[in-house]
């Protein structure tokens, strides 16, 4: 029965591939049914915790899938959010349904395979397919060059980071002789360091942490359901999940855990500030994703496995809920500018309320989900500096969440109309329930930690910490209330995502294309030129032979011939045919011979 686990990613992947060329109304129905079955499989896997028999992959290596506590949590989350988003999309997406739903299913399948992969080869395959799907989904509306470019930026940025995973796989092979994720920490030095370096690079890229966060800003160009899935349970979650998974390896190296913790904490703070500075709804939510995932990344470094996993689950529900609500307004009102969306929340109460609850959870207001899960991570923070950064991050999180909720709820009312179909509304209640109530996990934290498989030493969220972050969140909310949601953070650089994309373009892309152009010229002129010079030299030599050497040689032959002719003419002259001249010649010759004889013998 264990080999049935292959169905968990296999079913949505096969169904997605089959849907790609299809058209018509049956496509969403099929996709939703597949997603529902996938969720059932995920739940079954979470309960039964199966592991497939290893199958031979390449060389003598083995590949397989396995479900442990962490994978169980993430697999169910992914399948559930995917189902919610697909139900919503069934009511929204009208054009190219086959391509859209097919890609979404493959995208989900890739995340499920990433989550359950027991070795680096399967992980890498799923990881890269996920990146390619994100490209195709962001560039879904391919007629718009800007969206295609946005997809390209997302794919290239994440793939640049993915190179680390390739190197990590090679180093794992060198260090342990296998690609199994489980044995990485036990390799002799320096292999764990190299493997950890590669994995951290790949994970930070995928999770849009500093310094790679900018691709997430571009990823907003995709349709809203894509954002809802990409920002919650797939793609950005994958990096944090992978770091949680290889936490023993990070701890074994020492530096990697510290690096990851700081990268997560700083992202939570700085990208939170970026979110505070946005005036665009989708951009604000995007930056908040980076910031919130930062807490889960921090959890991997501390370690706080149970807290990190809980945070990923709660954030997945919150963020998909927020994007689905935002999608309703964006489609109805045609704008994503926060100032133009003023009062939009009042136009359609159910959507507005769901959005407000999701926003409150995002801001970490007590007693909602992220308040508890965030504190579960913070409770494990030992270093005061790190803790201070985290408190800053808590503050800005409440700030941006308050801004986005107040922006759509404060009067005056919006003049537009918002209609939402049943399919679009259907996923909102369950997501809202999780977003609000997942904080209950704090009450049964020991059971949760055991379920996830966290170590016994991890601290649980405690009252002082909860009170502190709760007060901070309320304080930030009060401040935003006083200044109004339009007062975006006016620090330079934060509105433009810290100039990260410009820096990446200037530091990596421009030099690379400049080098490419220079090399192309070099190839054409120097390498190709040298080759072309050979025949040119040959023909030049031939021409020289024809125009110079040949005539010169000809001249010599001609001179020889004319000399011979002249000699012939001279030789003809004595031959007169008259006997007396011949006699005289003979006499002269005889005299000469006689003289010669005298000279020789005399």
């Amino acid at each position: 029965m264990n080999d049935l686990l292959w169905l968990l990613p296999g079913l949505p992947a096969a169904a997605g591939a089959a849907l790609l060329p299809m058209r018509g109304r049956a496509v969403p129905a099929l996709a939703v049914s597949v997603a529902a079955v996938t969720l059932l499989i995920a739940v079954y896997a979470a309960v039964a915790r199966p592991a497939t028999r290893p199958i031979p992959s390449v060389g003598g290596l083995r590949a397989g899938l396995a479900v442990d506590g962490l994978a169980a949590v993430m697999a169910v989350t992914t399948a559930a959010v995917a189902l919610a988003v697909l139900v919503y999309a069934a009511g929204r997406i009208r054009a190219s349904r086959g391509r859209f739903f097919g890609l979404m299913l493959v995208f989900t399948a890739a995340m499920l395979a990433t989550v359950t992969a027991a070795d680096l080869l399967v992980l890498l395959m799923a990881w890269e397919v996920m990146g390619a799907c994100s490209y195709a989904l962001i560039a879904f509306d391919w007629r718009d060059g800007g969206r295609v470019r946005a997809g390209g930026v997302a794919f290239l940025t994440t793939r640049a980071a993915d190179l680390g995973l390739y190197v990590a796989a090679g180093c794992a092979l060198a260090g342990t002789g296998s690609l199994a994720v489980a044995g990485l920490a036990s390799a002799p030095r320096p292999w764990p360091d190299l493997v950890a370096g590669g994995i951290v690079l790949a994970a930070l890229g995928k999770s849009a942490q500093l310094p790679f966060a900018f691709w997430l800003s571009r990823a907003m160009a995709g349709p809203t359901p894509v954002s809802a899935l990409l920002h919650s349970a797939t793609m950005v979650a994958a990096g944090a999940y992978l770091l949680l998974r290889v936490q023993p390896l990070l701890a074994a190296t020492g530096w990697a855990a510290l690096l990851v913790a700081w990268a997560g904490a700083l992202t939570a703070l700085l990208l939170g500030a970026v979110a505070l500075a946005q005036t665009d709804l989708k951009q604000l939510l995007a930056a908040s994703t980076s910031a919130q995932i930062g807490f889960a990344v921090l959890a991997a470094g501390l370690p706080a496995l149970a807290g990190g996993a809980a945070h990923l689950v709660a954030h997945a529900a919150v963020k998909s809920l927020l994007f689905l609500c935002a999608g309703v307004w964006l489609a109805a009102l045609g704008t994503q500018d926060l100032r133009e969306l003023r009062g939009a929340g009042r136009l359609h109460r159910p959507v507005g309320v769901a959005f407000a609850l999701g926003g409150a959870a995002l801001g970490g207001l007590p007693p909602l989900s992220l308040w508890v899960t965030k504190d579960a991570v913070l409770a494990a923070t030992g270093s005061p500096a790190l803790f201070a950064v985290c408190l800053g991050a808590v503050l800005v999180a409440a700030g941006y969440a308050a801004r986005v909720v107040l922006a759509v709820w404060l009067p005056p009312g919006h003049g537009g109309t918002v209609r939402a179909g049943a399919l679009e509304l259907l996923p909102l209640p369950p997501l809202t329930v999780v977003a609000v109530a997942f904080g209950l996990v704090g009450l049964w934290y020991g059971e949760w930690a055991r379920f996830v498989g966290a170590g016994p030493g991890e601290p649980r969220p405690a009252l002082p910490g909860l009170a502190l972050t709760g007060v901070l969140a309320v304080a930030a909310l009060a401040r935003v209330l006083r200044h109004g949601p339009d007062a975006a953070l006016a620090l330079p650089g934060f509105a433009g995502w810290l100039g990260l994309e410009r820096a990446a373009v200037a530091a990596a892309w421009r030099p690379m294309t400049a080098l490419a152009r220079a090399l192309a010229r070099f190839d054409d002129r120097v390498v190709g030129g040298a080759v072309r010079a050979v025949p040119r030299l040959g023909t030049a030599l031939a021409r020289w032979t024809r125009t110079r050497a040949e005539p010169a040689l000809d001249g010599v032959i001609h001179a020889l011939a004319s000399t011979a002719r002249r000699l012939g003419t001279l030789a003809r002259r004595p031959q007169t045919g008259q006997v007396h001249t011949y006699l005289a010649q003979a006499a002269v010759c005889l005299i000469i011979i006689a003289l010669l004889a005298l000279v020789v013998w005399g």
Binding site: Y135, W142, D144, G152, L173, A516, V527, P535
Partner: protein
């Protein structure tokens, strides 16, 4: 039976000498290529392991050169890939009238290619090697476009010169081993105790094969030849003819000159790495789609040299075997994917009469099928998992880095950046040619059935290898291990 696989296409070509076969040229061509593919599959199915389907006849006994042919896990996948690609080219060409001489030329090339991969004798190898150049010259000069006469001449002279150097190397091997038989030479490697002579012979063989592969900096014949060749010619040139060079390294240079290969492994690795990075970067700067694909071939063949060079390092044999398996997989994979890419480029030329990415755009609007095929081929070529390119490149990277030598780790890490650059350049092509707003040159209509039927099977095979590679790797891995142990001899 192997001889039948080799010479069946030539026999079919001879049919065209009969009068009034012109009208059926396309059908005869497809039938012959299909029959040959069926035979090749049968060859695979009945392959017993080791060197199978061997034939050994006297040919020129004075220099102990014989008609010695046989297949193993190295040649069989390439023979099968060759037959698939030629069949696809035949089907592709059925979109228009096919002249007798065109079909005959391709059938001749098929015989030459299959013969080369089956040859176990240096002289026989050389004869097929040279005939392939002659055949391709006529394909480019006769049916190309643009400045075809000049490109064909350049191709011919350059690669012919390379083959002459190769011949010198072969004569050197004969001098060392008193035979032209590859199997005999591999048993007792020549010049085992004369490293200087072995180095000179390796240089000659290496340069000769590097021209054909092509390795940087001996690659400049490739872009013009591809740009001006007909689509099917480009597909065969990139898919099959380039493999002759890479195959020669694995079949001849490595087992016959193991000592020299070990000593100069780092040179090979550096040449491979140069090909990977240089090919990718130069491709990134191209506006001409066909030139761009040609330069990605330089990049992809660079991976093969990188892996084969790493096989000569002093390291555990498991990762080195993995690298060699990756190199052989890459030969098959590149044949399928680049073949598909060139056929796609052929459709572009047929409709828009240009390869210039600046003049094309938004092709997906009028040609969604072509776009889907192009996107799949491009993602395969940039190494997306699920397609054959990833299986090949992953094995190469894991093998090279897995050797555990610090310098090899650095070389592997540098090589990995190649897949980022190829990703960038293929996304650029997709963006500029197929997606976005329409360009000035339109591509209409979409692929016709012969075109779809020619390109789709190549990609289907690539996906099959990408998802379930065991059927191929089970064949390749034993011979990779054998090559590694042969090249590891002192």
């Amino acid at each position: 039976m192997l001889s039948l696989v080799i010479f069946l296409p030539l026999a079919a070509a001879a049919v065209f000498a009969l009068p009034r076969t012109g009208r059926a040229a396309g059908a005869v061509w497809i039938a012959a290529a299909a029959a040959d593919l069926a035979l090749a599959v049968a060859l695979w199915a009945t392959y017993p392991g080791g060197i199978g389907h061997e034939t050994r006849l006297r040919w020129i006994p004075t220099v102990s050169a014989g008609y010695h042919i046989g297949v193993d896990g190295l040649s069989l996948p390439l023979i099968a890939m060759t037959c698939v690609l030629f069949l696809c080219c035949a089907v592709y060409s059925a979109r228009g009238p096919v002249s007798r001489s065109y079909a005959a030329l391709f059938l001749f090339l098929q015989t030459v290619s299959v013969g080369l991969f089956a040859a176990l004798d240096l002289l026989l190898f050389f004869v097929f090697f040279d005939l392939s150049i002659v055949g391709m010259y006529f394909v480019i000069a006769g049916w190309g476009h643009g400045d075809r006469a000049r490109s064909a001449l350049m191709f011919f002279l350059y690669t012919f010169l390379g083959s002459l150097v190769l011949l010198l190397g072969f004569i050197g091997l004969y001098v060392g081993g008193r035979t032209f038989d590859i199997a005999d030479l591999a048993r007792v490697p020549p010049f085992a105790d004369r490293p200087g002579a072995a180095a000179v012979v390796l240089l000659a063989v290496g340069v000769g094969l590097a021209v054909k592969t092509p390795a940087v900096p001996l690659h400049t014949w490739l872009p013009p030849a591809h740009t001006d060749a007909p689509a099917a010619g480009s597909a065969v040139l990139a898919g099959v003819l380039l493999k002759m060079g890479a195959y020669g390294f694995a079949r001849i240079a490595m087992p016959l000159l193991p000592g020299a290969w070990q000593r100069y492994a780092w040179v090979i690795i550096c040449v491979g790495l140069a090909g990977v990075l240089y090919g990718a970067l130069v491709a990134l700067a191209q506006d001409d789609v066909k030139r761009l694909i040609a330069y990605t071939s330089v990049n992809h063949m660079g991976y093969i040299l990188l892996a084969l060079g790493a096989a000569g390092l002093a390291a555990p044999s498991a990762p080195r075997t993995l690298a060699v398996s990756g190199a052989v997989t890459q030969m098959v994979s590149h044949g399928l994917l680049t073949g598909a890419l060139f056929l796609v480029a052929g459709v572009l030329w047929d409709r828009a009469r240009t390869y210039d990415a600046r003049r094309l755009g938004g092709v997906a609007a009028t040609a969604p099928r072509l776009t889907a095929l192009a996107a799949l081929a491009a993602f395969g070529s940039l190494g997306l998992p699920g397609l054959s390119g990833f299986i090949a490149e992953f094995q190469i990277f894991a093998g090279v880095i897995g050797t555990g030598l610090p310098a090899a780790v650095v070389a592997g890490a540098l090589g990995v950046t190649g897949i980022l650059i190829t990703a960038a350049l293929f996304l650029r092509v997709l963006h500029r040619v197929f997606l976005g707003p329409p360009g000035e040159a339109g591509v209409n209509p979409d692929t016709r059935w012969p075109e779809t039927a020619a390109i789709a099977p190549l990609l289907a095979l690539s996906v099959l290898i990408g998802l379930a590679p065991r059927w191929l790797l089970d064949l390749i891995e034993p011979v990779s291990a054998a090559i590694v142990s042969l090249v590891g001899r002192p």
